[in-house]
Amino acid sequence: MSDAQFVPSPATHAHHPAQAHHFDSLEQQQEASTLGMWVFLVNEIMFFGGLFMAYLVYRTWYPDAFAAGSSHLNIPLGATNTAVLIISSLTMALAVHAAQTSWRRGQIVFIILTIALGTTFLVIKAFEYADKFTHHLVPGPHFQWPDEKLRAPVEIFYSLYFALTGLHALHMVIGIGIMLWLLWMAWRGRFDAEYYSPVEVSGLYWHFVDIVWIFLFPLLYLIGAHVRHV
């Protein structure tokens, strides 16, 4: 039969300990991980995309209500969080660099910094949420808005606000979980110039979550917030 000649298995030379048996080489394995993460991120874009679509439709329908709703969000806190996340992306990138250069101490330090910044983001977010609770801005039976005429569409705005930022925060929590695992692995010295793809693909995920926030901040906090409302 001509379509299937066979080559001897490359099992003869020594494998990197991290290489799974079904890959022919560590390089193939790393390429697969990276591609897998990119595909996953495309999926994530569609996931948030559905919500952004809803936001777009309602923003077009109710521009005044959305502007009014925006102006009750805390721009300084939102801006701080934006800065926090951007810096965390930098520390993440440095952690990847440390892995690529087999610098174990650097990996540990930068991963810890990333975790710390991610946690800072979540804490600030928690304060913002608490503020919304005390001001009855959480959609549902207790939702209150001074201007009765805008109440309903502002409730939509806050529904989308909580859905978008809540999902984003959930991604942050998952991201911090991944970072803790990376920290454990880095502590045990698993990453080096030859094998660093877990750090690299986790970094891709982290940057993605960061970028989502870069979209959320202007859409929710900034656009129309300067418009004076009744």
Partner: protein
């Protein structure tokens, strides 16, 4: 036997024939291609059946000509279907302006019908033969769909919207009325009859029982009860826009857009007044969402439509009449 086994629905509206013609065309195309495929499969499978266990087929890999043939031919046929279907769809969606208007509200699980002269009916719809009828439809709860198979038409009623449906009945008789969009427990009981009557019989039926006054007069009462008249005065002195002569006219909005004051616009302006603010007015009007029933909204619309340009001309009475596009969809 065929009494119990109908194979084809009654044709009782102006477009039943058009839709059926389209249907037969598609059946002809489908039958031709299904039979062609089936025949080819059977012929090939018999003619070229495997005669020995180790036989292989001929080394044919494909043919560009054939691929082009069976790409272009179906493309051409489907484009005919598209154009024909779109043309019928436009007919279905464009009600003649002279159409008689009847108001329909769906709620779990009944159809409530109000005629302009005041008759109300539930799960029944009386219409005259040979006259275009336009239904203005709303819903009090979930999505329903008003479906008359003998007329070959249906349209959804959607919360928060006013939708329309029109037909011209051509044959007196009693026809099924169904709710076609699943709406909960008694979805299959949300059915009724459409009674198509000769014009004279319809007139007699109309004059039968209009106890509570016409739809517009009930709308007028509601207009007073809700104190709409305190702002919407007929002489542009009020805090709200003048409603007299408004219907069907273009309206300039605060944000620069111009919209035609059709039924959907009126409905939206009652339940969500902040959505479209008329140029030159303050956004003062409260929402009436939840304060009036869907039927009440339709009565108000019916009333506003009767308001002719009496005292003051509409905001733009000197502009040409709006285009004939009245259907919401």
């Amino acid at each position: 036997m065929f009494q119990n086994l109908p194979l084809f629905p009654a044709q009782a509206s102006g477009f039943a024939g058009q839709v059926d013609a389209l249907y037969f065309f598609l059946i002809a195309v489908s039958a031709f291609f299904s039979l062609l495929i089936a025949l080819l499969i059977v012929v090939f499978a018999i003619r070229y059946r495997r005669r020995s266990p180790d036989e292989v087929g001929a080394g044919i890999t494909g043919s560009l000509q054939l691929e082009l043939l069976w790409t272009i031919v179906p493309l051409g046929i489907t484009m005919v279907m598209f154009l024909w279907g779109a043309w019928v769809f436009f007919t279905l969606n464009r009600a003649p302006r002279a159409a008689m208007e009847i108001y329909v509200v769906g709620k779990q699980w009944m159809w409530k019908v109000q005629h302009p002269d005041g008759q109300r009916e539930i799960n029944e719809l009386h219409v005259p033969v040979g006259r275009p009828v336009k239904l203005l439809m709303g819903t009090e709860d979930v999505i329903h769909s008003f479906f008359i198979p003998a007329f070959r038409t249906k349209f959804d009623v959607v919360p928060g919207k006013l939708t329309t449906l029109w037909f011209e009945a051509t044959k007196p008789g009693r026809y099924h009325l169904f709710c076609a969009e699943y709406c909960g427990t008694k979805h299959s009981a949300m059915i009724g009859w459409v009674e198509v009557m000769e014009p004279a019989a319809f007139q007699a039926w109309l004059s039968g029982g209009a106890g509570e006054g016409s739809l517009a007069s009930r709308g007028e009462r509601l207009f007073q009860d809700l104190a709409c008249h305190t702002c919407h005065m007929p002489d542009s002195q009020g805090r709200g826009p003048v409603l007299d002569g408004l219907f069907g006219k273009p309206v300039k909005l605060q944000d620069g857009r111009t919209v035609v004051a059709d039924e959907s616009y009126l409905r939206e302006s009652i339940v969500n007044p902040q959505g479209k603010i008329v140029a030159g007015y303050q956004p003062l009007m409260p929402t009436f969402q939840g304060l009036i029933s869907e039927e009440g909204v339709l009565q108000l619309i019916a009333y506003i439509k009767t308001l002719g340009p009496k005292a003051a001309p509409g905001p733009s009475a000197n502009e040409p009449p709006p285009p004939a596009k009245q259907g919401t969809p």
